[in-house]
Symmetry: C2
Subunit: 332 residues, 2 copies
């Protein structure tokens, strides 16, 4: 299966639905623009696609999960806008970030407003399908618990910035909240809307969590390794910002004193020269920190794929398997 | 009825429930502290009290709305934390604001995390009462639509900061979103949980909206007129910050050129002297801008009380009438 084409198919389905929930007509106009800015800048629509595909994989139709799929993209964009403020990131998806264009207050509000719409869209979905009370509440709990876990992950990420002794285990806990919680919620919400039984629901939730974590690891790899034109963020920006990615956590615990010195010359130094960044990246490659992370991500993906064994064969299942592989094979 | 005592009664009921949803044990610890900071600093618990009382006024028990009452206080505190960041406010409820103590990133996350808990608590309420699907969805829609309207109001407020020509009508629209939406949601949610019929539901929603708007107007009055020890915010800070309160909007459109000059010497000038602030306040009093706003607030309260005529007599109804009066009679 051509996964990119499949993602595009899903995106085409969900796009009008996102427009319906975040219309250009929102007042005041600046709020509409700020809410729509990163949405319009692109993105793979991975989370909506997970929800639609999970719904289909358990016997539902993609359309059954369409409002929630849109909700998940709004949710994701809410977290991106707020994260960019916290991380002082100036670019994302090759465009300026929301707070850079409209200032922090409007960016904070735009994020909050997208978050507010998440639950409205999910309620509309439950209402249209005439879901029973139990499933409706589980849908809401899935979304609200994911958002709280996401906040916990983001808080850990912030705390890590001022620490040099973050362990791999701590990193994994952080990233599980920051990225895994929402991809889990996406797959689980889709399965809920497709009326999955308990076993399939749990399998898809686990699948979502695992590929989310793998996704973030691959993001960390691409942040050092990838091409800026494709990836959309300046290469080495994670290093300049001093972000505790798993690559860095691994490198700081395994590098020789000399290599560590080269790393620390660039790490967290906003004024590091391009040469210093290049040398730091050279160390990360040579000591195997990048390969280590890529390998761990591949193992998570393999585990995620095994979770899907409870599902009957279908095009949707094939797509979920393909998406899992795509997560670690992508270059953007 | 002694309204203050009644508010304290409601607060005593809801306090343990808030602790249950925002426990000290939340990890990481800094997130628990930041989420709980303003909650612990006090506040009247007006919104929870509105929900509990509305529920009782339509024939339910206060306990029927307890999770949602807690949710409303979490909701309110989420908006306070984010607003304080946007307004660069350093004090609230006589304590330092969250972003001043823990920095903006943690403050943004703490607000988001409180918001996330709102829907979890509401879902728990619906689940405990075995509410039917229709009412459950209406509860969720009430909360999510209020939060979106709140964002719209806050965005307008931000836009007004750079404008000198805000009209009273624009101000009213802003404040209706920023304050009225949530008090409406509080009274409406309580009524929903008390199984109110359509007429009572609508009456209580309108009551909530009206007293919310009046509440904000009184806040504006106290910001110029009140005593800092009681009110918790430095007197004149609204003037220094250049906030478009209705008092200012009114004054800028009705003052003589000379008086306007005195106002503009202090208005929006962070370095205005205490003497300049005092003179500006003098003008606001003399030209009747403060009385004008206080009078409009009193009229809204009278209208709010009339909405309650559809309710049978009860202690809860008496409390709602008393709360309406309290909104414009309070000094804190």
């Amino acid at each position: 299966m051509d996964v990119l084409k499949y993602l595009e198919e899903c995106a085409a389905l969900v796009e009008p639905e996102i427009d319906r929930w975040v219309p250009r007509e929102i007042q005041p106009e600046v709020l509409a623009k700020a809410m729509r800015h990163l949405i319009e800048a692109g993105g793979k629509r991975l989370r909506p696609c997970l929800a639609l595909t999970a719904c289909e994989a358990v016997g539902g139709k993609k359309e059954d999960a369409i409002e929630t799929a849109a909700a998940l993209e709004m949710f994701h964009n809410f977290t991106l806008i707020h994260d960019d403020i916290m991380d002082h990131d100036e670019f994302r998806r090759n465009v300026k970030t929301v707070h850079v264009i409209w200032g922090e207050p409007i960016a904070i509000i735009a994020g909050d407003a997208l978050f507010a719409k998440v639950f409205e869209a999910a309620a509309a979905n439950a209402s249209r399908l005439k879901l029973n009370l139990e499933r409706t509440l589980e849908l809401f709990n899935t979304l609200s618990k994911a958002s709280f876990e996401l906040c916990q992950g983001q808080a850990l990420d912030m705390l890590f910035e001022s620490r040099d002794d973050v362990t791999e285990e701590e990193y994994m806990r952080m990233i599980s909240g920051k990225t895994g919680a929402l991809t889990e919620a996406a797959a689980k919400a889709g399965a809920l809307l497709g009326n999955a039984d308990g076993k399939k629901l749990q399998a898809l939730a686990s699948y979502g969590r695992l590929i989310g974590v793998a996704f973030q690891m691959q993001d960390d790899v691409l942040g050092v390794w990838g091409k800026q034109e494709k990836f959309g963020k300046p290469i080495g920006s994670d290093i300049r910002e001093g972000k505790r990615t798993l690559i860095i956590v691994r490198a700081l615990t395994t590098a020789s004193d000399e290599d560590r010195g080269v790393l620390l010359k660039a790490f967290g130094k906003s004024h590091a020269t391009n040469e210093e960044i290049r040398e730091a990246i050279g160390v990360l490659k040579r000591i195997g920190a990048i390969d280590y992370v890529a390998e761990r991500a591949r193992k998570l993906v393999a585990e995620a794929k095994r979770k899907l064994e409870v599902l009957p064969d279908s095009r949707a299942k094939e797509a979920l398997l393909g998406i899992a592989d795509f997560v670690v094979e992508r270059e953007f």
